[in-house]
């Protein structure tokens, strides 16, 4: 009798692979996105089984939830075509000769075989970096190892990650300036009563995730993603409408996280300390400050990525209303 949990793992693994195939093979593009969301949630479940709850939370909130919302708005945008064009099936790879597909299939099979060989010959359960992290936990200012790595031991990576997010929103605003005044980012009516009930709860959950990150799974990115959901709900339920006057506030929101993070990192330097080397007695306060500001920045940036275009004088949607 095999271990029931291993049977569960095997079934989950098969389901994930089948969903990955289905995402790329299904004809309808709406179904494709829905299947992708299911795929992402199943992957998050697999990562919970692999004892990585932080990663699972981030994947569920950012990699699946917000990415799914972005995909759905884009689909809504590109579907605004004349009906005869919509009816045209596009799922089958047209224009790609069978020979090219066969060669690519062969290449992918070779790559898969090579990677499998490398994976199977790599010793799993190697010591890794667990010991150094555990030894230095006391000096990190937080009790949760993943948060310690993100905000202290490898804080430079995290700063760069926030910079990437900033670069993305700048690129999106620049490119959207040339996009037509196409449909407003509305996926459907959201019952405002639901929004009024759900919004305070989501805000509390987001703040809790941020706070709990110091000693349990959670943290700035997961909290920021949940707070970004507040922004999405506000935009979709039309409780909040971006106006041109809000642009400076939004810009401040995008930059605040990066600026605070970099300023703290540089200001702690000096007196024999390197940048990012927080003084041990203030480490907890500084990390909490950085996390709080970065969470706000992430939430504003992700919501703006969803909204896409920067607020302009008057949008088509407002004219219609």
């Amino acid at each position: 009798m095999p271990d029931p949990l291993l049977v569960f793992d095997a079934l989950l693994g098969l389901a994930i692979v089948a969903l990955a195939v289905a995402v790329l093979a299904v004809r309808d593009r709406f179904a494709m996105i829905v299947l992708f969301i299911v795929f992402g949630l199943m992957s998050a479940l697999a990562w919970v089984r692999l004892a990585a709850p932080d990663v699972a939370l981030a994947e569920a909130a950012i990699g699946t939830g917000l990415t799914g919302a972005l995909l759905l708005t884009t689909l809504h945008h590109v579907r605004e075509a004349p009906p005869e064009q919509v009816a045209e099936p596009v799922a089958v790879p047209m224009g790609v000769p069978m020979g090219v597909i066969a060669v690519n299939l062969g290449l992918c099979a070779v790559i898969l075989a090579g990677l499998s060989l490398a994976f199977l010959s790599t010793p799993l359960q190697a010591p890794g970096l667990v010991a150094p992290v555990v030894q230095n936990m006391a000096a990190s200012g937080v009790e949760h190892p993943v948060t310690a790595v993100l905000l202290n031991f490898r804080a430079y990576d995290t700063l760069m990650e926030v910079v990437v997010l900033l670069a993305a929103i700048i690129a999106v605003w620049m490119v959207e300036r040339g996009t037509a005044q196409a449909p407003a980012p509305v996926l459907g009516e959201i019952y405002r009563g639901f929004a009024r009930l759900a919004l305070p709860a989501i805000v509390v959950i987001g703040a809790y995730l941020l706070w709990v990150g110091a000693y349990a799974p959670g943290g700035a990115f997961q909290g920021g993603a949940v707070l970004a959901a507040v922004g999405l709900l506000l935009l979709l339920s039309r409780l909040y409408r971006p106006r041109p006057g809000h642009r400076p506030v939004a810009r401040l929101g995008f930059v605040l996280g990066t600026a605070t993070f970099a300023a703290v990192a540089l200001l702690v330097a000096g007196g024999g300390r390197m940048p990012f080397e927080y003084p041990a007695e203030h480490a907890k306060t500084l990390i909490l400050l950085i996390e709080g500001v970065v969470t706000l920045s992430i939430a504003v940036t992700l919501a703006a990525l969803f909204h896409g275009r920067e607020p302009e004088a008057i949008t088509v949607s407002e004219k219609r209303v």
Partner: protein, 96 residues
């Protein structure tokens, strides 16, 4: 056979499916999703590399790397999607 091995193979399969999709698919939206599958597959391998048999603690460094990767991936996806929207606008304008 253990949890790490099962999900390691899952990650490899998902990566290969995504790679194949990114190479042969024509529709831009589907291609972006194929690349996203690649990134999830790579995340699987890092998480598996961090995994230890339950009583032992998982390695937090790869976990932090995957979280960073997820955030970078949504940034890249958002830029790819806005380019798709722009391309669509240009194409539908030239049809008129």
């Amino acid at each position: 056979m253990n949890t790490g091995l099962i999900f390691g193979m899952t990650g490899l399969a998902v990566f290969a499916i995504g790679l194949f999709g990114a190479l042969v698919l024509v529709e831009p939206l589907r291609r972006v999703l194929a690349l996203k599958l690649c990134s999830v597959g790579a995340g699987f391998l890092l998480v598996v590399a961090a995994w230890r048999e339950p009583p032992a603690m998982a390695d937090p460094v790869p976990h932090a790397l995957v979280i960073t990767g997820i955030v970078v991936m949504i940034s890249a996806t958002a830029v790819a999607l806005v380019l798709i929207r722009r391309l669509h606008t240009l194409e539908s304008n030239s049809d008129d």
